[in-house]
């Protein structure tokens, strides 16, 4: 009986926790190159002036298959193996925002909710009736609305912003774990191999134990 009560209580609290997280908008991240290429393009235009991606280098982008000319345009005089550091110094950032904007290399892995969080956050800006810009997901944010969601009312334009946010998050998702696709590919082979091996081991075990009977 006591167990039953505990279980019921657990289910109840679990359901509550679920309801709180449900405000995040789900994003189906794109893992193919065109989306990631659009994403890095949008990121370089909208985010990179303030945010670093210090664990991603221009060389990584080239290896991924991003257009070399675009990369050369972004990196300027920097060597190809330099990281994607922003032009804004930490001191300048402290002056304008009173904080250093977080590095984005691991952003989709560094927040509860992952890619969904970043996506919902980018789209979460809105204007209050008295004209103050706020964010649903992160009320205390100091980042100005980067994609203009709070000021856009036109439906087509809002859809355009959603697409941009989708591409940026797709790129960030790649940046946080660049070997993910390789991991999955290898994983299928490994699991396939282990299934065969385990089946063989099962038959070996069965045959050996059958000697006992």
């Amino acid at each position: 009986m006591k167990n039953l009560i505990i279980t019921l209580v657990l289910c109840f609290t679990a359901a509550q926790a679920w309801a709180e997280e449900a405000t995040l908008e789900h994003i189906k991240v794109d893992t193919d190159l065109p989306a990631i290429a659009r994403g890095v393009d949008d990121l370089m235009g909208n985010c990179h002036s303030c945010h670093n991606l210090k664990y991603v280098t221009y060389l990584d982008l080239e290896k991924l298959g991003i257009d070399r000319q675009k990369i050369d345009g972004w990196r300027g005089d920097q060597p190809i193996n330099s990281p994607l550091t922003s032009l804004m110094s930490d001191e300048a950032a402290m002056q304008s925002f009173n904080l250093v904007p977080p590095d984005l290399s691991l952003m989709t892995k560094a927040r509860e909710g992952g890619a969904d969080y970043v996506y919902s956050y980018l789209l979460g800006y809105y204007s209050t009736p008295d004209g103050v810009v706020k964010n649903h997901i992160f009320p205390g944010t100091k980042m100005p609305d980067p994609l203009g969601m709070s000021t856009t009312t036109d439906h087509a334009q809002r859809e355009q912003i959603r697409a941009t946010a989708h591409d940026i998050v797709s790129f960030l998702y790649w940046a946080a774990d660049p070997h993910e696709q390789e991991r999955y590919r290898l994983g299928y082979y490994v699991i396939g191999y282990l299934l065969i091996l385990t089946l063989l081991l099962y038959f070996v075990k069965k045959q050996i134990w059958s000697r006992l009977k």
Binding site: N3, I6, V9, L10, T13, A17, Y55, D60, P102, S105, L106, K109, A110, R111, E112, G114, A176, D177, P178, H179, R183, Y184, L186, G187, V190, I191, L194, L195, L197, T198, L201, Y202, V204, K205, I208, W209, L212
Partner: protein
């Protein structure tokens, strides 16, 4: 040629006789179930952790300004570095899972009882070393959760009588967790697994002295046994295959499910993450710690919750063999204990306060109550079972065991004369 070499070695080192005595012809009860696979699996995971760890250490840097970067270096630039790291991180969880099942089997079948107390206690020592190794390893990525986990856990030593503060700063090598802490944790994280290996050897020597327990609870190794090889080698390898499938599913497809997002943010000594959660394998003990509204009391309760298992050989006073198999009360207590562990784990995972605190306290009370009640209940249960009449197959087992023992006793006395 091979024979000659082996002969040469055998004259100088007992290689063949060791292999024969402890591996190929090692007598093993034939009725061992798959629950007896987990000791071998624990040994395998230990080797896996040492192997991946040694290769990760070639790329890792134990310095607060470099360690977070060096992890990203491993994840991005080192060839298959991501694989080694995910294997190591998932391996830690796998290790605890395997060990907990190994312990649960011991509890269920009463394998801790005489003459296997030393096995149980060396196992307990190994568990403590494993916990220490895992805890120190968790600091190394130098993420937010690493830092604050280490801060909270080292603070537990404030409970030391008289010298609390001094002990804490001695452990850390500073007033807060910092570079000295990271460097010493790395050193010890590399050292402890080798002490664990040594402990495993002791554990195995004890095992080969008293032989494996088995589901019946009666020592069968002397009569109804089969050689370890090929029967249990084949069974262990089959079990290993199943284990590897589960392990690789996590390594390749869900490696991040076992990692806290906050640990992907570099450690910041000036800001604590919203809620600090230890790794899943510490959650029940963490819940016990939080349930006691007093620092010293909480630490004592947590320490006791881990150490209390050592007393099992004395707390369980029943002489009915077979652990939970033939003992309905004990079986009930076992399942209640498992359920209580899960509840505590759930409580430990959630932020404290309100319902959680209450549930945690009830579950903590329940946890200790089971151990305290065990001596009385086990004795009472024994009396009740004997009164009710034991099942005939159990009576037979006990009778044959008693006969065997008295014969052995006579034989030994005869030898002495």
């Amino acid at each position: 040629m091979t024979n000659k070499i082996i002969h040469w070695i055998d004259q100088r080192f007992p290689l063949s006789s060791f292999v024969k005595h402890d591996l190929t012809e090692y007598p093993t009860p034939r009725n061992l179930s798959y629950w007896w696979n987990f000791g071998f699996l624990a040994g395998f995971v230990l080797v896996l952790q040492v192997a991946t760890g040694v290769f990760l250490a070639m790329h890792y840097k134990a310095d607060v300004s470099l360690s977070f970067d060096s992890i990203q270096h491993i994840m991005r630039d080192v060839n298959y570095g991501w694989l080694l790291r995910f294997m190591h991180a998932t391996g830690a969880s796998a290790f605890f899972l395997v060990i907990y099942i190994h312990m649960a089997r011991t509890l269920y079948y009463g394998s801790y009882r005489a003459p296997r107390e030393l096995m149980w206690w060396t196992g307990q020592g190994l568990l403590l070393m494993l916990m220490a190794t895992a805890f120190m390893g968790y600091l190394l990525p130098w993420g937010q959760m690493s830092f604050w986990g280490a801060t909270v856990i080292t603070n537990l030593f404030k409970a030391t009588p008289f010298y609390g503060e001094e002990v804490v700063s001695w452990l850390r090598g500073g007033f807060a967790v910092g570079d000295p802490t990271l460097t010493r944790f790395f050193s010890l994280h590399y050292l402890l697994p080798f002490l664990i290996l040594g402990g495993v050897v002791v554990h195995l020597i004890a095992l080969h002295t008293v032989k494996s327990s088995n589901p019946s609870g009666i020592d069968l190794a002397a009569k109804d046994n089969i050689p370890f090889h090929p029967y249990f080698t084949s069974k262990d390898f089959y079990g290993l295959g199943i284990f590897l499938i589960v392990y690789c599913l996590f390594v390749f497809f869900f490696p991040n499910s076992l990692m806290e997002p906050a640990n992907n943010i570099p450690a910041n000594p000036l800001q604590t993450p919203l809620d600090i959660v230890p790794e899943w394998y510490f959650l029940p003990f963490y819940a016990i710690l939080r349930s006691v509204p007093d620092l010293v009391g909480g630490v004592v309760a947590m320490g006791l919750s881990v150490m209390v298992f050592s007393f099992m050989p004395y707390l369980d006073r029943s002489r009915i063999p077979g652990g939970a198999h033939y003992r309905p009360w004990y079986r009930m207590m076992f399942y209640l204990f498992m359920a209580d562990m899960l509840v505590l784990g759930y409580v430990g995972h959630n932020p404290p306060g309100g319902n959680m605190l209450l549930i945690g306290r009830i579950a903590t009370f329940f946890y200790f109550a089971l151990f305290v009640l065990l001596p009385f209940l086990s004795k009472k249960e024994e009396r009740w079972l004997i009164q009710k009449g034991l099942p005939p197959e159990l009576k037979e087992l006990m009778a044959s065991d008693a006969k065997e023992k008295s014969e052995m006793h006579h034989r030994r006395n005869g030898d002495n004369k």
